[in-house]
Subunit: 198 residues, 2 copies
């Protein structure tokens, strides 16, 4: 409450601006905690009505105490439901390998070339598509399905601010009945001291 | 009920033998259906108490009608709970590549060699371990956690007999909080007409 009041003051009474202030503070606060190891947490799931789409996600935090809070459970639920709907392919942009990135670029280039437009226009189209690439396929960069004005990363940053611990999405899986493909994504960014496995 | 009566007659009134008769019939019935495409089904999940272990599994059948039956849902629940507890690494033994198999064999050989026993004894130890390998790591060969006298494969065969459609486990994922490893297993065996992707 104190934070909200201060934010409103900073935003000269404008509610929307105050929300932006709080979010920036949340992000700053989250950034300070970003190097802290997250070895606790929970696994959550979301099955889309009818059982045709299912998601499994592991979200980590620093203590088992926080993992058991209603806030953390709400975050788990929101993230898993978001993954079911928005179908990300990676946890964060740092997980996109150079090979993946180049492959996507080539696909867009081939598509754009088919329009028959000049080479420099084709390049601009490709650039435009790649600029959107991360927010289309990286969970943390995707607009949060329940509130498109913030990304999933910002949603998490707000919870970090509220719960006082670093929170990281470790991995997720998404299955859709009948699809030959499935998604399994795990993040390569190691918190300090944490072992990394592919 | 008719099937049960016939089985008891065939087993000369012995209940345990009758169960074996029914299971064999179930397996025979399942085998007849094994080539039928399974393009419908459901995704289910199981979160172990405390949220430290989570499982996602896709089980296919032939029709959406069967996918919505209580029997099918019960099977989904049993399989996902089983995977959480028994931690299989593959769906079926055909999914174990020659490389995987050889690697396991080498690990057992190295362990057995450390006992200092003679080479022929070491080989026998390794053979014994590999004979058990499939039932330890392949879902369909594992003893069903709720009833160890039958394998998960037999559990499914019984449901195939009951529901009258082919039923296949397509893939599963298992996460455990804090583990660097995770399991994702998908089966390579294609039903007739079904496309295969790795």
């Amino acid at each position: 409450m104190g934070d909200c009041k201060k934010a409103l003051v900073e935003a000269s009474g404008n509610m929307e601006d105050a929300i932006v202030v709080l979010r920036k503070r949340g992000i700053a606060s989250a950034a300070k905690k970003a190097s802290r190891s997250t070895n606790e947490g929970s696994v959550a799931s979301y099955i889309h009505a009818g059982g045709k789409i299912g998601v499994l996600v592991e979200v980590n935090c620093e203590s088992d105490f926080v993992a058991k809070t209603e806030d953390f459970k709400e975050l788990l639920h929101d993230i898993s439901m978001h993954i079911a709907a928005a179908d990300p392919k990676y946890v964060r942009r740092e997980d996109v390998t150079e090979a993946d990135f180049d492959r996507e670029k080539e696909i867009y280039r081939a598509q754009a070339a088919q329009t028959g437009k000049p080479a420099n226009v084709v390049e601009k189209i490709v650039e435009g598509k790649m600029a959107k690439f991360y927010e289309e396929v990286c969970l943390l960069d995707q607009p949060f399905i329940k509130e498109q004005s913030q990304t999933v990363g910002q949603l998490i940053a707000t919870k970090i601010g509220k719960l006082g611990e670093n929170i990281t999405v470790r991995r997720f899986a998404r299955f859709k009945v009948g699809d030959d493909q499935w998604t399994i994504a795990t993040t390569k960014i190691a918190a300090e001291g944490e072992e990394q496995q592919q």
